[in-house]
Amino acid sequence: MRLNPLTAKKLRRFRSIRRGYFSFLLLCGLSLISLLGELLVNSRAIVVRYEGKWYFPTYGDIIPGTTFGFDYSYETNYRDLRDRFRQEGGDNWLLMPPIAFNPYENTPYEGVFKPAPPSWLGGPAGHLLGTDTTGRDIFARLFYGFRVAIFFALAFTVLTYLVGITIGCLMGFFGGKVDLFGQRLIEIWSNIPFLYTVIIIFSVIPATFTVPVRIFILLVILVLFSWTGMTYYMRTATYREKARDYTAAAIVLGAGTGRIIFNHILPNTISTIVTFIPFTVAAAITSITALDFLGFGLPPPTPSLGELLKQGTQTLTTAPWIVSSAFAALVFILTLVTFVGEAVREAFDPKKFTTYE
């Protein structure tokens, strides 16, 4: 792929800002790893060798306990199976993921569902960060909570920009009545209180919707209330670029509206917008966490950072590991995103152009 030399230069500069660049790599790496989460953090074994046969339970259908000689027909408890194989000796073996818990299962601690401290602080084995108030593994919940949050944030960013850039650009390019009415509509729209809308909508959508659908609805609502901010930047940027000589030249040469917008105006305005991206991602993660904290976010029992934080604040003295894990994870992710954001901004900032290299 041949890049525009200017873009190539910006990318080079981005790479040269080590902190941001490595944060970016780390974040990408974590996101990719989270996609393979089922192999790393799961209550299902990765591979089971039983009576000469191979089983790969991770993806696909449940394997009932009877398959492995248990007396129940619901899903096999692979941790029990592992212990049984160990006791029996023999050729049967299985490989569990490094964290052998899924984010939904309640494991009792001292006989009741209550927070268990991390394993290295004297808690039960296997729970690296302990368990939450109903005995669910915190690492598993953080891990899947991160996965949901980061992809939610990315989808949010893409959608917001798509809508924001399109509408902002149209207002700026066509100006006049389009701009006038567009601006008024946006003013009205942005005065609708967001939180109330979320509360109302979530109280009416039926629970028959599956969790992914409900997450998608939340995404749509968030986007609906967030695109307006982007239009202001796009509108002014488009106004400015449209008044430049090269746009006039393109018009004189007979270029169509589409060509002018996509080939001339967009590439020249986009650099301002790009610098906002990481901060939008950070804002999306923060808002989904905040909504979860308030109880209006992801439907239960979806693992989420906000829900863990909420639990943590209620158990500050009795189970400090909940709040510290959730808080540390949130700070870590947001710091990475912010480092990326800083680097992008510096790389795309024309004023600093001469000071680098």
Binding site: Y74, E75, K114, T133, P206, P299, P300, P301, L316, T318
Partner: protein
């Protein structure tokens, strides 16, 4: 006495005991009103007009008119023949052969040696929105301290003698000196105690009783429930003299005595200004009370605190059943919105008691090993009680596709692991609920047990309903490819982990539960519109003598015209909304039993009918009984003393009967000991004489 949905706020109150209470804003400053802001007003003419015209209309007559069986003229003629509701007679009209009783032979339950004095410091989560006792916003969490637990009634049900005698429960006297039941005439005669007076010194008289009925029937109070209750459940009130009156009821049910005796009279002189502006006019006024505590105007610090003060020379302070109670001079309720903060205040000694119903607080935040507990500074108390239990459980909507199949409902019963919830979530503190009417003493079915968690039986019933194939995710499907999947809706944010636990367990039976945790009001609205699959909810119940079935299980509350005249189900019937029949149960046999039950005046017969009803409901499987919280718990500082035994079986909170007292010497001693590092014996008290089995 009304059957109400157990809202999340009552739930919170239940769980957190005295502390965690209502959601309500603080009283707005716009409500600041002095009585002088309102024009003078006198209700007397209107009251006399009402006395001269109001009649109790029998339900039967009203129904006949509504259904067109009689014409308006006939109706008017029949009404004209009815006697007036308010009757004025002379002492000669009192039948001579009445058997007067006064309940004085009952056992006293307070400690007569309790010390008077001191201030109890407690917390409330929200400031009451009004100090009116009826009308808009008056049914908040502070109401018990202004009314229910403090104000006197003519007589009250004895809190631990719950046997049923010839006249129903046993009552100890309050405002009444004595009473007599005349079953043949469905009338209860009551004589007011000669010393009885309001806190402003005005004697309590029969005129106050007449006024009370007028008051509750008046539209001015903006309380439709009271309007309806006091117009339909009583047929007459008769004044004989200054201190003697009688109340007549439309029917003699086993608890008819209680319906007459457990009325709280209202001071007529205080409500003289009753009128259309009643809610605003009386918003922050304090009614003179017959009870031990009142609120002084200067003690209402809006949004911050409200303090009860003991009535000086309370007329009943030395009477049997009332002495040794209501001991602190003052009870100060400070608004603390955050439970965790209130707990810290308690630990610092700024509050004297803290509700500990939540396992988290009892076991983790203030464990028995806590230094203050070990040093004997803080005492922990568990009080087992024996009262009708809120019906926590799963209410299955029978009108839904698949849930109309009995096998699926029974399967769901077997697939819900309540024992695990009780053992692992409630740490074994709760017990399993067995029927829809647990805690009603002899009216509760003696042997019926809820179905236990049983994977085999659940799968067997699901298989009978055609769900035999196991899908890739472990959920059963039928031949039509439908998944065995239902939504559990709940408005209980504090209990949202329970459906999550049930879900994990149900999956083992091939049943999927989706969980919908809504805001309390939204969840209740959904259930009232009958849009739920399965509702995890509870109805609150009052300590009544016998359970109510009509509201929750009669077909009249399930469908409009549930059955055709020949008794077969009406194919065009529509689900009836805004009723408490959450299971949409419509069964002619159950209807027949309920009708017989509601007509019966014989406790024995009613018991048999209630048991039969429970068996039929159990067989239908539309209600999955959940759990019972058989106690309330709290922690108090050492100087808060309770009587030996704490013998109040039907209490629902520690404060309800005001049996405790404050030992000021102990308070000083404890404070000094704490500074000096001196310790006392550990005080962990379990009052389990009313613990079931």
């Amino acid at each position: 006495m009304r059957n109400f949905p157990l809202s999340p706020r009552s739930l919170a109150a239940l769980l957190a005991g005295l502390y965690a209470l209502v959601l309500a804003g603080c009283g707005g400053s716009s409500d600041e009103t002095a009585s002088s802001d309102f024009p003078p007003q006198d209700i007397t003419p209107e009251m006399e007009q009402h006395f001269a015209s109001f009649k109790h209309i029998p339900a039967e007559l009203q129904r006949a008119l509504n259904e067109g069986e009689i014409t308006q003229e006939e109706y008017d003629a029949r009404v004209a023949e009815l006697p007036l509701f308010f009757q004025f007679k002379t002492p000669e009209d009192i039948p001579a052969d009445l058997v007067w009783e006064d309940g004085m032979d009952l056992e006293e339950f307070a400690d007569p040696n309790a010390k008077k004095g001191g201030t109890l410091y407690a917390a409330i989560q929200d400031f009451p929105r009004t100090t009116r006792l009826v009308g808009p916003d008056s049914n908040g969490s502070f109401r018990p301290f202004l009314q229910d637990d403090v104000v006197m009634q003519f007589a009250r049900r004895h809190p631990n003698d719950t046997s049923i005698g010839p006249n129903g429960f046993h009552y100890y006297p309050g405002i009444a000196k004595e009473w007599a039941a005349d079953k043949a005439n469905k009338t209860v005669y009551i004589r007011i105690h000669p010393d009885a007076r309001w806190s402003d010194g005005v004697p309590i008289t029969s005129d106050d009783v007449m006024f009370t009925f007028f008051f509750y029937q008046s539209p001015h109070i903006k309380a439709p429930w009271y309007n309806n209750w006091y117009s339909t459940n009583y047929t007459q009130v008769t004044r004989y003299d200054e201190k003697t009156f009688s109340i007549t009821l439309p029917e003699v049910r086993p608890d008819f005595l209680g319906r007459a005796l457990e009325i709280e009279p209202k001071p007529a002189h205080f409500y003289r200004e009753l009128g259309p502006d009643f809610p605003e006019r009386y918003q922050w006024r304090i009614q003179p009370t017959s009870g031990a505590y009142t609120v002084r105007p200067e003690d209402i610090v809006k949004g911050r605190s409200i303090t009860l003060t003991r009535v000086k020379d309370w007329w009943a302070r030395d009477l049997k059943f009332w002495r040794g109670r209501y001991n602190p001079d003052r009870i100060r309720f400070t608004v603390v919105r955050d439970t965790a903060k209130a707990f810290e205040m308690f630990k610092k000694g700024e509050l004297d008691q803290f509700g500990m119903n939540l396992a988290e607080y009892w076991y983790d935040k203030l464990p028995d090993t806590d230094p203050d507990v070990q040093a004997g500074y803080i005492h922990k108390n568990v009080f087992y009680n024996d009262i009708p239990r809120p019906t926590y459980g799963l209410w299955i909507n029978r009108s839904r596709h698949l849930l109309d199949n009995r096998d699926i409902r029974i399967g769901i019963n077997y697939a819900t692991n309540w024992d695990l919830v009780i053992e692992k979530f409630a740490r074994g503190d709760w017990t399993r609920m067995d029927t829809t009417a647990d805690g009603f003493g002899e009216f509760t079915h003696p042997t019926l047990k809820a179905r236990p968690f049983d994977i085999e039986k659940a799968r067997e019933h699901f298989a009978r309903a055609g769900f035999t194939t196991v899908g890739g995710d472990g959920v059963l499907t039928n031949a039509a490819g439908e998944r065995l999947s239902f939504t559990i809706t709940t408005g209980y944010e504090a209990l949202k982990d329970i459906p999550a636990i049930l879900r994990e367990e149900a999956l083992k039976c091939g049943l999927e539960f989706r969980i919908e945790v809504l805001d309390g009001t939204a969840a209740w609205k959904k259930a009232q519109e009958k849009k739920h699959d399965i509702m995890f909810s509870a109805f609150g119940v009052f300590p009544e003598m016998y359970p109510r079935y009509w509201e929750t299980w009669h077909s009249a509350n399930a469908y409009d015209k549930a059955f055709l005249p020949d008794g077969s189900p009406n194919p065009e019937r529509k689900v009836k909304t805004q009723t408490n029949n959450l299971c949409i149960l419509a069964d002619p046999e159950i209807d027949r039993l309920i009708d017989a039950y509601d007509r019966s005046d014989d406790a024995e017969e009613m018991k048999k009918l209630a048991w039969r009803l429970e068996e039929l409901i159990h067989a239908d499987g539309c209600f999955v009984p959940g759990f019972v919280i058989p106690f309330y718990r709290n922690a108090t500082w050492r100087w808060i003393r309770n009587p030996e035994g704490f013998n109040v079986k039907i209490s629902d909170s520690w404060i309800q009967y005001f049996l405790f007292w404050i030992d000021e010497d102990m308070k000083k001693e404890t404070r000094e000991a704490r500074r000096a590092g001196k310790t006392f014996p550990v005080g962990i008290h379990v009052y389990d004489q009313f613990k079931a089995n």
